[in-house]
Amino acid sequence: MITFEDVTKIYDGQRRAALSDVNVTIDKGEFVFLVGSSGSGKSTFIRLVLREYRVTKGRIFIAGKDLSRLHSWNVPSLRRKIGVVFQDFRLLPGKTVAENVAFALQVIGKPQSQIKRLVPETLELVGLAGKENRPTEELSGGEQQRVAIARAFVNRPAILLADEPTGNLDPTTSIGIMKLLDQINRTGTTVVMATHDSAIVDQMRKRVIELVDGELVRDQSKGVYGYQ
């Protein structure tokens, strides 16, 4: 589903590589933790999958498509196959829960009839049934992240990327979010989650990919956060 071949990324005006010579393959339906300290290259990994940046060297394949040969006008169609959630939720203020989720479908031109079906269905899935018409500002952090996950998943993407999704949440709430991501993973969606929350990684026992200073130092199935 996601393949990195000798991927190196050096940002403009920087000398140090944010990622260097990374080789990794993530299969369809896998759940992968991307771990490492801040600045280790986790976010760069995610942004390269989204084609927010081009690689400096190497190649990335998403569902068989070579991103380095993808023209920028085909980037929107790539992103429709990928859902993303962030630490800071990135919801639209002034819109309700349902409007925030529906927005993702409206702007890619989905017909109203599909939106009416998919939005309640997805809100039900993430456990927000009954809160459709609440403004997102009134929700707790965990609920806001659920809205963000609903928005990322409403178009049923093949890949769900999560960049520190529990970074702003307390441990109990985090567990709820992890259960939800696990549930989404069980529908066949490939989930890649960047995190430095060791408790969660240790508890979930999923594949762990560790980055240190942009280099892939560990790729372990059913791994833990660190060796210690």
Binding site: L50, R51, E52, S72, W73, V75, P76, S77, L78, R79, R80, V84, R90, L92, P93, F103, A104, Q106, V107, I108, G109, R151, N155
Partner: protein
């Protein structure tokens, strides 16, 4: 589509003062630009055949004309005309010789003065037969003038360019000043549109970021901004067209035409052409800055 229109409308309302500023700037600058186009057409029209095609007119004697080469009470004879024509055609400076009979001149006169009461007192006999001469090099007219000026049957030789040059030079200066000023104003209008759209995009940057993330097409993201600037520019263009129509009606038809009849004035077709130019420039000037201003938010 509904989303796009709603976004465009809310953008226009949110930046009402900027939108109004764009409309007014567009209005004034496009009116000036259209005025320049009208002026240019008027100059061309006034030049017409009197200027571009004809360098020298040789007026022949008619019954009532006075002149040292004329026999009083008599038209120039055919023999005289032949001599004059031969002299002209054998001159190396002459390119073409046209003959305008009284009747031709009368037909022209009627066309130019078609709405004037003067026509009632005139007839073909009051016109003069004439030769019109096109020179190879318009600057070299003296030789031709002196060659025919003394021939019998020639009443007068007129080099129109000599009289019209200063007038047209001034008209040209006026035309280019108007167009130059309007270009400066149009530049200001384009920059204003770019600023307005950049502000609108900045205030919606969260939404734009999410739209890009979930895979909205660039076209879809840009369309509300394009519609927003297009609407403002078109309102400005329509106001400018109205102003041009007012100029044509109140200045040219009602005032200039009755007071200066010897000139052929621009009509509605010319105004229509200028309006087309105004609308086209307005559209281009709204689209180009908008595309440039939103590019930063569309970069994938």
């Amino acid at each position: 589509m509904r989303h796009t229109l709603r976004e465009a409308w809310s953008g226009l309302r949110r930046n009402l003062s900027m939108t109004l500023a764009v409309i007014v700037t567009m209005w004034v600058s496009l009116t000036l630009f259209g005025g320049g186009l009208l002026g240019a057409q008027q100059v061309e029209l006034a030049k017409g055949r009197w200027y571009d095609k004809i360098e020298i007119s040789v007026f022949l004697c008619v019954k009532d004309s006075k002149g040292s080469n004329c026999e009083p009470g008599q038209d120039a004879t055919q023999a005289q005309k032949d001599t004059i024509r031969n002299t002209l055609e054998s001159n190396p400076e002459v390119q073409t010789v046209f003959y305008d009979s009284k009747e031709d001149t009368w037909a022209d006169f009627q066309r130019v003065y078609k709405d004037s009461p003067v026509l009632a007192d005139m007839n073909a006999d009051l016109m003069q037969d004439s030769f019109r001469i096109k020179l190879k090099d318009p600057e070299q007219y003296q030789g031709v003038v002196s060659a025919v000026a003394g021939l019998p049957g020639v009443q007068a030789v007129q080099d129109l360019r000599q009289y019209l040059n200063p007038l047209f030079e001034w008209l040209n200066v006026a035309k280019w000043t108007t167009i130059g000023l309007s270009l400066l104003l149009l530049l200001a209008a384009a920059l204003q549109i770019a600023t307005t759209i950049r502000m609108a995009a900045f205030s919606r940057r969260r939404e734009l970021g999410i739209m890009r993330l979930v895979g909205a097409s660039n076209w879809y993201i840009m369309l509300p901004f394009l519609i927003e600037s297009l609407v403002a520019a078109l309102i400005g263009a329509i106001l400018a067209c109205g102003s041009l129509a007012a100029v044509q009606k109140f200045l040219i038809i009602d005032r200039a035409q009755p007071s200066l009849k010897s000139v052929e004035w621009i009509g509605w077709p010319h105004v229509g052409l200028a309006m087309l130019g105004v609308v086209a420039v307005g559209v281009v000037l709204s689209i180009v800055p908008t595309v440039i201003a939103t590019r930063k938010y569309l970069r994938v």
